[in-house]
Amino acid sequence: MLYQPQILEEALTLKADLGGDVDALAGGTDLLVALSRGQWRPKNVLDLSRVVERSEIRKADSRFSLAHGVTHAQLTRLPVRALAEAALSIGGPQIRNRGTLAGNLGTASPAGDGCVALLALHAEMELTRAGRGSRRLPVRDFFLDYRRTELRPEELITRVVVPADWTSAWHKIGKRGSVNISVVCAAVARSPQGRFGVAFGSVGPYPLTAPKTEALLNAAALTPELIDEAAAMAQTEVSPISDHRASAAYRRAMCGTLLRRLLTEHFLNGRD
């Protein structure tokens, strides 16, 4: 059965009633591939792409509040550098027009580019269950294991909240110039108070943060020496595997390289 509600309340009620028996479909850029490969045989589908308020972006208290259906294409115009660049690095124009940030979170791929930017930005998300209201949690608490998240079967991701006043930067290594899946990606962000966020993609079972590296960066003024130290530390915090996309050694080394480059180019000399 295909459900295509136009009102969020209706979507939430359906999800709460059917729970695990219905799969939420946002842009479909992951699920339709799985469908055509025969890896996804849904019983019921809850299509969220017709919900009217889905594309809403609001700014309040130096935060952007992004509704569940905000697409990657919309994010490329958001003045949050890491998130905008991450969004621009996803797929091609068609994919960016369909794919959503909430969908990126829900899929919880280790290579989820949007997730990595959100982790660095210390973003928060809102999970809602009809009848019980919403709960807010840091994106950092959302990922549990490979493709396992905090999202309960009766819930939908309804909102993502991103700080608007942080400095941030993004870098992705892929095997070609566009339409790339990450071999490694990295995001760095800093609050106006000087608090750092560091995150990596494709180097663990889910998008990873680097808390020890962040602590190191938070503790002292940024110098080239501290950057080297942080780059070395970051390599100890990731757990990449070797697969057909790259070797573990390369991915680990690139975490250090990308962190050093992002910190040096965007944070060290007050650029940005």
């Binding site: 490969r37 095997k175 070609r176 339409v179 070797s242 070797s247 390369y250 080394a253 690139m254 480059r261």
Partner: protein, 797 residues
């Protein structure tokens, strides 16, 4: 009273009107014009029917193929009963149901249509299921139970050559070999002032054409008609007939519109399987199609070659000796392997004069996907090696790379490595043209951060076109006028996007003085056209182009004869131009060719001529690899790539690209330009990103998420330079374009990386990790691809 007649009115008009001068300027000949593609409009509007477009509207029944779950195993039993119980399934067929030889293969008939007792790769076909819907066919396929006794998997060349390796075929695991012995290479290397050595490993590549394998077949009790995309319909008909035990004349193969081939359609795909299903269900139209994953897992691939190369030279840079040993992963079946190893040996030293040559090429069976034809086969991998060696040698000698090439390139009258003398060698001209463009053009260079380095690399190659080596190589074509005034060309050759239709139409139109708009092509239908050989080996412009020109030329004699009686001059005094027969001398007078055609039919002329073009090549000597004419002619090409390498991440960006091809004569310059640009894109893909990764005999990246093809962002605008040193044997002097754009592109990019880093790449593709490992060899991990796990480490001195 008699009246005087009025005098004629005085006007400026002369009393005798000259016939209209149809050409103030001579109209451009269709040869050399970028005429609009004959198939262009229907393809861009979606009118053209590709094989998959026959689904499902023309199908009565749907077929699918069960493929092996094991890379190497004895097949103990195939239980089809559960499949027959699936709703909608109307037939399940295994090898016992195949009426003919049950064998396919272009050179060796070693590939079972449906496996009898032993599977040799994860992709071998075991059964064909026919059902009333595609999903029922798939369900039936999944219900078949196969019992295997697994055998040790031969995953790599090293596995295959190990002393106790399981024998994949009764004669062992070496499929064949080819050698060249010229002079005394060992002695010359010992005496050389400078010697460089390297081991190269090229990767397995997929054709990745857009239009995945599909087809329909119908048997009416008299003729089996198959609509499916191949590259050589007449050979396909012969192989289908043999495999299915039918007389050849009872099989008809018709090519639908086709989206790319690149050699990937030279081996039969599903044609015999869909044909078998049709034989079992007379009067029904059967449809069969792959999805992308099946297309990638079932089809043959480009050979991965391991090339050990040693090159010696004098202190002044004059090459003295080359010693080359090549091992080729043939995969499970021979496919075009024997031709690939031959091409590899005959192109082992490329366009260079090397007096002492010692080449051994071996093809080795494994349990990987069969490897076969792909654009530039054999020649392309060896170009990676010889062009890489020239740059290594230049560094060691402290010599300029371009100068070293100029010093050693064959000149007109010199011989290539097979001993064949090249009457018109234009490698130096191509090289000079790209260097001139490079040094006197291009945008100002952007400054780079310290972790990005810029470099450029150049390659010069030669390529023998056609099958060569004495293999029968011919083309037949028909040219005729129709009663409605059209010029029709009939050819068995296949158009798969390369522009063949325009090539034949423009040649016929030029010869007969007809506008290209009045030309039509009937092609690749064994029921209507003659055998023209394969659309491969860069041969169709030369071979079918010549056959068409011969037929058109003879037809022209008839038209001229008729024209002579209309214009009252000797036929030799008439030229055919722009749809008119025009007198050559004096005040030009003309008559439309259409009138002459109509008159010709009235006189009982057939106005239809068939012609054969069949030049001879001579076999290479088995012991020495020498032949005075291994190939009909040679093409020369030079490319230049400028890259930026991120030395910290290993990412390579191609910034600028220049390609110079001596095509003899560009029949359609826009098509030539397109072929070159496309080949360069494909070469950049092979140099930097494309790679089939095998895991336990299964392709691990059989999708476009992980089989990485170049995008627009990876290919800069290609600056093409077309040279036209006419070939004495080619139609209007044309040679062809075909494979060389890819062959020259791969080494040009690799040499640019070498220049940027100061470290030479030896393994393709140079993806970010491989480039990074070149700079950090201590961190290199064995490739994820298990085939190469026992390959000797590429430790740098």
């Amino acid at each position: 009273m008699a009246t005087t007649p009025a005098p004629p009115p005085v006007t400026d008009k002369p009393l005798i009107e000259p016939s209209p001068t149809p050409y103030a300027d001579p109209p451009p000949s269709p040869v050399g014009a970028s005429a609009r593609r004959l198939d262009g409009l229907e393809k861009v509007t979606g009118e053209a029917l590709y094989a998959a477009d026959f689904f499902p509207r023309e199908a009565d029944l749907f077929a699918t193929i069960l493929r092996s779950h094991e890379a190497h195993a004895e097949v103990l039993s195939i239980d089809t009963a559960p499949a027959m119980k699936v709703a909608g399934v109307v037939g399940v067929y295994t090898h016992v149901d195949v009426p003919g030889t049950n064998r396919q293969g272009l050179i060796k008939r070693d590939h079972p249509v449906l496996v009898e007792d032993r599977v040799r790769y994860k992709g071998d076909a075991l059964a064909v299921v026919v059902a009333t819907s595609e999903s029922a066919a798939h369900a039936g396929r999944d219900a078949i139970r196969v019992r295997y006794r697994p055998l040790p998997v031969v995953g790599s060349i090293d596995d295959a050559l190990a002393p106790k390796a399981p024998k994949l075929f009764p004669n062992g695991n070496v499929m064949g070999g080819k050698r060249i012995r010229k002079g005394d290479a060992d002695r010359a290397l010992a005496e050389a002032d400078v010697v460089v050595s390297e081991t190269f490993q090229t990767q397995t590549v997929d054709h990745a054409f857009l239009d995945v394998e599909a087809g329909i077949a119908r048997w009416d009790g008299r003729t089996l008609v198959i609509h499916a995309s191949g590259q050589w319909v007449h050979e396909e008909r012969r192989l289908i007939a043999l495999a299915l035990g039918l007389p050849i004349e009872q099989v008809r193969v018709i090519q639908p519109a086709t989206g790319g081939a690149f050699g990937g359609r030279e081996d039969l795909g599903m044609q015999v399987h869909v044909g078998l299903a049709a034989l079992k269900h007379p009067g029904k139209t059967i449809a069969l199609r792959y999805d992308r994953a099946e297309s990638m897992r079932a089809r043959h691939k480009r050979h991965a070659l391991r090339i050990h190369y040693t090159l010696g030279a004098r202190g002044d840079g004059t090459l003295t000796a080359a010693k080359v040993t090549v091992f080729s992963d043939e995969g499970a079946y021979a496919s075009t392997g024997p031709a690939v190893i031959r091409k590899a040996s005959s192109h082992a030293t490329g366009p260079y004069r090397v007096p002492n040559v010692h080449v051994d090429v071996y093809g080795v069976y494994t349990n990987n996907n069969p490897t076969g034809a792909m654009r530039g086969f054999g020649a392309c991998q060896l170009a990676v090696a010889y062009e890489g060696m020239i740059d290594r040698l230049a560094r060691k000698l402290g010599m300029d790379r371009v100068e070293l090439r100029r010093r050693n390139l064959v000149r007109s009258g010199d011989a290539v490595t097979t001993g064949q003398v090249i009457p018109l060698a234009t490698g130096v001209e191509c090289l000079d043209a790209v260097m001139d463009r490079f040094r006197n053009g291009g945008r100002p260079l952007e400054p780079l951060p310290p972790y990005r380095r810029r470099g450029w690399g150049v390659s010069t190659i030669c390529f023998g076109l056609g099958y060569g080596d004495g293999f029968p190589d011919a083309s037949r074509a028909g040219v005729r006028f129709t009663r409605d005034g059209f010029l029709e060309v009939l050819t068995g050759a296949v158009e798969y996007g390369q522009g063949l239709l325009n090539m034949v139409a423009q040649i016929a139109a030029a010869e007969l003085g007809m506008p290209i708009e009045k030309a039509r092509v009937i092609w690749a239908d064994t029921g209507r056209t003659l055998e023209s050989g394969s659309s491969s080996a860069t041969r169709q412009t030369y071979f079918t182009g010549n056959a068409v020109k011969r037929a058109a030329s003879e037809l022209k004699e008839e038209i001229l004869d008729i024209a002579g009686t209309h214009l009252h001059v000797h036929p030799h005094e008439i030229v055919l131009r722009d749809g008119l027969a025009v007198t050559r001398f004096g005040e030009p007078r003309s008559v439309p060719i259409a009138e002459l055609v109509a008159d010709g039919f009235n006189r009982g002329y057939e106005l239809s001529v068939k012609a054969l073009y069949k030049p001879a090549t001579l076999c290479e000597n088995f012991e020495t690899g020498q032949s005075p004419r291994a190939f009909i002619t040679y093409l020369f090409v030079s490319h230049l790539a400028q890259v930026v390498v991120d030395v910290e991440t290993g990412q390579v960006t191609v910034e600028r690209y220049i390609a110079c091809h001596d095509v003899g004569k560009a029949i359609n310059p826009q098509s030539v330009d397109g072929q070159i640009t496309g080949g360069v894109a494909q070469g950049i893909g092979m140099a930097l990103m494309e790679e089939v990764v095998m895991r336990e005999g299964r392709m691990a990246n059989a999708n476009f998420t992980d089989y990485i093809l170049p995008t627009f962002r990876d290919v800069p605008p290609v600056e093409t330079i077309i040279l036209e040193n006419q070939d004495p044997g080619g139609p209007f002097g044309a040679r062809g374009v075909g494979e060389p754009p890819l062959i020259a592109a791969v080494p040009a990019v690799l040499n640019a990386i070498h220049d940027a880093l100061g470290v030479a790449p030896h393994t393709t593709p140079c993806n970010p990790q491989r480039v990074w490992e070149l700079l950090h060899p201590e961190q290199a991990e064995p490739p994820a691809d298990i085939r190469f796990r026992t390959a000797p480490p590429h430790a740098r001195p």
